[in-house]
Symmetry: C2
Subunit: 157 residues, 2 copies
């Protein structure tokens, strides 16, 4: 009944990009450092965000990630579900077949309602407002992570 770490990281990544605005390229390294996410883990999450059409990944020197849409058009729900899949408070909500009983189950309907409400709330939240907040999440993370200084993929000579 909780968000996974990957989901939380995905949100941080998009929020950081949203603060730079749509289309601005930001390196994975910077995002990882500023949002306190392991760089390699971020790579994986970014791939899922890219597949969902939320960000674009630029390879090569001076590569990085950029937002494809305007922050106001990106909902919290779409980011979360891009990373962890469709939200489902109980198995039978998204897979009614998992319980032979779901067709007539009173509890099933309660879960369905709660699930709908939750998704609607998250769908109703976009990144424009959050990015604009004076004290946003990500400004509080240190610019150069003390314990996470060197996340480069390359070995030093």
């Amino acid at each position: 009944m909780r968000l996974t770490r990957a989901g939380e990281y995905g949100i941080r990544c998009v929020l950081h990009l949203a603060r730079h605005g749509r289309g601005t390229l930001v390196s994975r390294k910077e995002i990882a450092a500023r949002t306190d996410v392991p760089a390699h883990f971020l790579a994986k999450i970014a791939q899922q965000l890219a597949r969902a059409g939320i960000i674009e990944i630029m390879q090569g020197a001076n590569g990085g990630y950029r937002l494809l849409a305007d922050p106001s058009e990106i909902s919290l729900l779409s980011v979360i579900e891009a990373v962890i899949g469709e939200i489902s408070l109980n198995d039978c909500v998204t897979r009614p077949g998992s319980c032979h009983n779901s067709a007539t189950c009173a509890i099933h309907r309660v879960w369905g309602k709660a699930n709908r409400e939750l998704r609607d709330t998250l769908r109703g939240t976009n990144f424009a407002a959050m990015a604009a907040e004076e004290s946003c999440c990500l400004t509080s993370f240190p610019e150069t992570g003390a314990g996470r200084r060197d996340d480069s993929d390359e070995a030093r000579p």
Copy 2:
């Protein structure tokens, strides 16, 4: 982001008891068979429900479980949280200290709101209505579980 199996089992157990009414003693064996829950697992869950004051456990021959309160006074939320602990959609909701940043985080507030809504919905659902439903969950489980015939703790002579 999903209910654990233990939570689901706890709900089934209470619902089954609710259908018998407050104070009626039902054996663990019967509950386990009718709700399709492993008997030993149910024992563990029942202990948590007992600690939360929802059911009472009677030991000895002809023992079993009984509801302490009227089904109308037992909310879905109380049963779930008795089994899986307080609902928390994200770590920082129940443990703000887990992220040094929660005090000023815009996303944090969204999670707080969503979490409150979810808990309110579950709090607003009690077992009286669900137990009264014509085709309740538990009637659909076979009376004698085909693959779960013998859940006795005792070895046969």
